[in-house]
């Protein structure tokens, strides 16, 4: 294994990266869908403010997101007593990396879903309602399937963004090999240590391969959905 391009710690980093990206995407999808639905079809007070807050991670340095998470969820954070009561330990665990990735990738997810939802003809929704469907029925049988391309695109983008997440993750989850170290964090370690160039390049290759696979699956799914529609 010593002479192999990837060692066991690298495999751990790959495994953790994929686990974090999958969990962050799966966790964000239902929230992203509901958020996109509310923002597309409803008018309410504070909508603009909510929009700004949700999109903030797009413009903020990820390190700031990580630090704010630390302030909220850390040992002396606002939510520390509640987390302690529930017996949940987030900070410096892979779950914290999931949370950081979810926050940073969320705007990308909802943006795609919203574009898809906004393109749905309102009369289709009206037709569904007058044919006897309640709002939840319409949401599940009309809006959800007609938003599929946006959901797939958003999920792909979010997954790819989570794979590359670095700044927020290192602050809130740390850089512990085998526990919270993801591919970008492992590359950082190799790049900052003498003689780690080959290992860093190998992991870069893995990151590129995973990203290409995600984009390929995304394109194939989109084509399939377009054909079906």
């Amino acid at each position: 294994m010593e002479n192999a391009l990837l060692n066991s710690a690298d495999y751990d980093a790959i495994r953790i990266s994929i686990k974090v990206a999958v969990a962050a995407t799966a966790l964000s999808l239902p929230f992203g869908f509901v958020y996109a639905y509310l923002m597309t079809f409803f008018r309410f007070r504070g909508k603009l403010l909510l929009e700004v807050l949700v999109n903030l991670p797009l413009t903020l340095p990820p390190v700031v997101i990580g630090y704010l998470l630390l302030v909220v969820l850390g040992k002396n954070g606002f939510l520390a007593p509640l987390l302690e009561l529930l017996g949940v330990r987030l900070i410096f665990s892979w779950k914290a990396a999931v949370l950081a990735s979810a926050l940073v990738g969320f705007p990308l997810l909802v943006r795609s879903i919203r574009i898809s939802m906004a393109s749905i003809d309102l009369q289709l929704i009206h037709a569904s309602r007058t044919l006897g469907a309640g709002w939840l029925d319409t949401l599940l049988t009309i809006i959800l399937p007609l938003s599929r391309t946006g959901i797939v695109a958003g999920a792909s983008l979010m997954f790819a963004r989570s794979l590359g997440e670095f700044g927020a993750t290192i602050i809130v989850a740390g850089n512990m090999p085998g526990v919270t170290q993801t591919i970008p964090l492992a590359i950082y370690d190799y790049a900052s240590a003498p003689g780690g160039e080959t290992a860093a390049l190998s992991l870069c290759g893995v990151a590129i391969a995973i990203s290409m696979l995600v984009l390929l699956v995304h394109e194939l799914l989109n084509k399939k959905l377009a054909r079906r529609n």
């Binding site: 003809d121 009369q123 289709l124 009206h126 037709a127 569904s128 309602r129 007058t130 044919l131 006897g132 469907a133 309640g134 029925d137 049988t141 009309i142 399937p145 007609l146 079906r228 529609n229």
Partner: protein, 352 residues
């Protein structure tokens, strides 16, 4: 069906809807130009929008009342809409579209059978197809079927023909009427086309500026609007093809025979004839180039802008002609007079 509606809705001063009417009958039309409030009224009846105030009753049941705080959601009103462009669900097959409303209809309200409807609308061959591969006419037939299978108490047809070519309109109209009559579902037919209203309805609400400004028969409305129309009154002649003579087609119209240049080999047909294309003679004209000379009786005359409308009886059929006031005075046209109507073979336009 009885629909009682007293409702107002303001759109920020740019447009106000303020209606007060009771419509009863199975085939009611709502006629008005674009922007007169027809589609807004449809949305209020279906529950897709809420009036600022007022009441809406359908067959005695309150759908909306601002005074009593009642506002039934759209899915509980049992009012279906056939939209202008069909609005079929693009991710579902024709069959799944048709079944969408039926699956959500309470068993006690189900009176239309799927197979019977598919047969009436001739949809058998397309059930498994995706809706994006249908023609405009097929889409409207599926949309109509889907709306009827929801077993509504009232069908709202919101300009269902306006996206179709003229050649398809008559065909789809036939299906709309036939299906509604066969399954006993009353409808409100919304259109800016007086011709469609005349072919589809028995009574009509005329709308202008967000108000119902008249409630009359389609025929009466057509006569009232004759002076305003650029094409005069459009006579609709149901005819049956007899033969072809030279380049002309001969059709039977009541007890008369008509020579028409725009005919074809089909059997039954409907032709349009403008009141302005009929020339009247008080005596039998000699050596006329026009191919149709009909001996008629004047039933009535009525003013129409700066012209005079003349209702003629030809056998059992009725024709409306139009002359300027001076011509009416010179010819002394009055009820019970005998008169000759001359029509060129090229003046008839085939519908559909």
């Amino acid at each position: 069906m009885e629909l009682r509606m007293v409702a107002s809705k303001s759109f920020g001063g740019a447009f106000n809807l303020d209606v007060d009417f009771t419509a009863s009958g199975e085939q009611t039309g709502v006629f008005g130009v674009s922007g007169s409030g027809k589609s807004t009224m449809v949305s209020l009846i279906a529950g897709l929008e809420q009036p600022d105030s007022g009441e809406i009753f359908l067959d005695g049941e309150c759908l909306y009342s601002s005074r009593r705080g009642i506002n039934l959601p759209p899915q509980r009103r049992r009012v279906s809409i056939v939209f202008q462009n069909g609005c079929l669900f693009p991710h579902l097959s024709v069959e799944a579209n048709l079944l969408y409303g039926l699956k959500r209809c309470a068993p006690e309200h189900r009176k239309v059978e799927f197979q019977a409807l598919v047969h009436v609308l001739k949809l058998e061959g397309m059930l498994k197809r995706g809706v994006n591969h249908l023609s405009g006419g097929e889409k409207q037939r599926v949309a109509l079927g889907r709306a009827i299978l929801a077993n509504p108490r009232l069908l709202l047809m919101d300009e269902p023909l306006s996206a179709l070519d003229d050649s398809l309109k008559l065909q789809v109209m036939h299906y709309l009427k036939r299906a509604s009559e066969k399954f006993g579902i009353p409808y409100l037919f919304i259109s800016h086309s007086l011709l469609e209203i005349r072919l589809m309805t028995e009574q009509v609400l005329a709308m202008a500026g967000g108000r119902v400004v008249g409630q009359t028969s389609p025929e009466q409305l057509a006569r009232e609007r004759m002076g305003l129309s650029q094409v005069g009154y459009i006579n609709l002649l149901q005819v049956e093809k007899l033969r072809k003579v030279g380049g002309l087609y001969v059709y039977r119209w009541g007890m008369e025979e008509l020579f028409v240049s725009a005919g074809d080999d089909g059997g039954m047909a409907v032709f349009e004839l403008s009141s302005r294309d009929i020339i009247l003679f008080t005596r039998h004209p000699e050596a006329v180039s026009a191919r149709n000379l009909l001996k008629c009786t004047v039933v009535d005359t009525f003013p129409s802008g700066n012209k005079v409308g003349v209702e003629l009886r030809c056998g059992h059929e009725t024709l409306i002609a139009e002359v300027v006031v001076q011509a009416a005075d010179d010819l002394a046209i009055q009820a019970r007079n005998e008169i000759y109507a001359v029509i060129k073979a090229s003046s008839f336009r085939r519908l559909g």
